[in-house]
């Protein structure tokens, strides 16, 4: 995979635009998954994927052959997603944040009220996680997503985000602390729902 990626980069730079299609086809799904976890929104994730490839295409001559194309695309995607999150935060577009007055199904269950359908509960848990992630800053979210979901090491995350290892760790710690505050009472349900 790495070899064919490098070949695709070289062929694209040599003028074969179709070679870029290979990169797009190989990396789109992973980038979508990453973008969705960063944005929490399908439409925004699609935008991030597309913008990632546009930026990559434009900067293809800056790609350093010693890095993997996948990692390089990840760092572009993370920056795109952070741009988008910062833009949304600026305009307070967190419209979908649930009103605090209305107790969610999970909160009702946590309070000992009758259980709704287990699958609905599971879906709601996913939604609550998505909402909790939106409360993080874009840096905290990026660090946590790369560490928890993508399994990158602290060092790799630092390189991707342009942070020192200590700053990377602090971003993850802050993210965990915030998530614990928001999801703490609901977290035990993660092991009881299907």
């Amino acid at each position: 995979m790495g070899g064919s990626d490098a070949a695709a980069v070289a062929e694209t730079l040599a003028g074969d635009e179709e070679a870029f299609a290979g990169l797009v086809e190989r990396h789109s799904r992973n980038l979508f998954r990453l973008a969705y976890r960063m944005t929490g929104n399908e439409h925004d994730a699609e935008e991030v994927v597309q913008e990632t490839f546009l930026r990559a295409y434009r900067r293809l001559d800056q790609f350093k052959a010693q890095a993997s194309v996948g990692t390089w695309l990840y760092s572009i995607a993370i920056n795109c997603a952070r741009d988008l999150l910062q833009q949304q935060k600026k305009h307070q577009e967190h419209r979908e944040l649930e009103s605090p007055e209305r107790p969610s199904a999970l909160e009702r269950e946590a309070a000992g009220e009758p259980l709704p359908d287990r699958l609905a509960l599971s879906a709601e848990l996913s939604r609550q996680v998505a909402l909790a992630l939106r409360r993080l800053t874009s840096k905290e979210r990026a660090a946590l997503v790369l560490r928890h979901f993508e399994g990158l090491s602290i060092e790799e995350i630092g390189r991707t985000l342009g942070l020192r290892p200590s700053a990377t760790k602090n971003s993850i710690f802050r993210a965990v602390r915030k998530l614990r505050r928001v999801l703490g009472p609901l977290a035990p349900l993660a092991r009881t729902t299907p």
Binding site: E17, H43, E51, E93, S153, G184
Partner: protein, 247 residues
């Protein structure tokens, strides 16, 4: 060993603790830290419940289908340069008239009753959406051209400046009408676009490679091209819904 901190437990969970054996031994003998560790594990299990919409094996090909025309357009721009953009001059004038009509309808509606066939607010909003979408596309092409300008020293950006100068008055009109219509998101992107266009207009017509790179970097740092695409895409989605939906 004193009690473990949350930070130590987080690093331990992710396999990045400095001394995992010591932490493991501590957890076996300390119920308080074991309980904290258990809570953290529950939190991480909850995070794993985040569902990601599935994409089929054809997804990469779909992305490429959407992406390719944009790459081709860039290639065409690089080849044809401003010949292509010049043909859009008429669109600029028409768009400005459309906004003027929109603003006129909006501001004069309450004081001057119309005799027959007034334009419905939804229709006006739709007209404005189309006009702003067209303006954004033309602005995008100017910025693309600049960002993708071929290396050279000096680099002549007088064509881009000319077009930025033409786009500026329209941009002010659209920004004003978007703000009046309550579309704060659109107004904000137009505001950033305006600053970018002003910067291009006020730059020297002949730039050194370093000066061009600085402009490029500012365009990229603002993410203005991305924002234009996001707004344009939202417009396509929302159309023909009222513009106020784009706040």
């Amino acid at each position: 060993m004193s009690h473990l901190t949350e930070a130590q437990l987080v690093l331990f969970h992710y396999g990045e603790a400095a001394d995992p054996a010591a932490i493991e031994a501590h957890l076996e003998g300390c119920s308080r830290c074991a309980a904290s560790h258990h809570d953290l594990q529950q939190l991480f299990a909850a995070l794993d419940r985040l569902e990601v919409p599935q994409r089929s094996g054809q997804y990469g090909a779909e992305v490429w289908r959407r992406l390719r025309p944009q790459l081709v357009r860039r290639a065409e721009l690089a080849r044809d340069g401003w010949l292509r953009v010049r043909t859009w001059a008429w669109a600029s004038a028409v768009a400005a008239l459309v906004v003027a009509a929109f603003l006129a309808g909006r501001f004069w509606r309450s004081s001057e009753p119309t005799l027959a066939g007034p334009i419905a607010p939804q229709v006006r909003a739709r007209i404005l959406l189309v006009a702003v979408g067209d303006h954004l596309e033309r602005s995008q092409m100017v910025l693309f051209e600049l960002v993708n300008a071929k290396a050279g020293d000096p680099i002549d950006i007088s064509s881009e400046q000319k077009w930025s100068e033409k786009l500026l008055p329209e941009n002010r009109l659209y920004r004003l009408s978007a703000a009046r219509a309550g579309a704060a998101g659109v107004a904000s992107v137009l505001d950033e676009l305006e600053r970018t266009l002003l910067e291009i207009v006020h730059s020297p017509a002949q730039l050194s490679a370093a000066e061009l790179e600085r402009i490029r970097q500012r365009i990229e740092a603002r993410g203005i091209l991305f924002k234009i695409r996001v707004i344009g895409s939202h417009m396509q989605q929302k159309s023909p819904a009222p513009l106020a939906g784009l706040t």
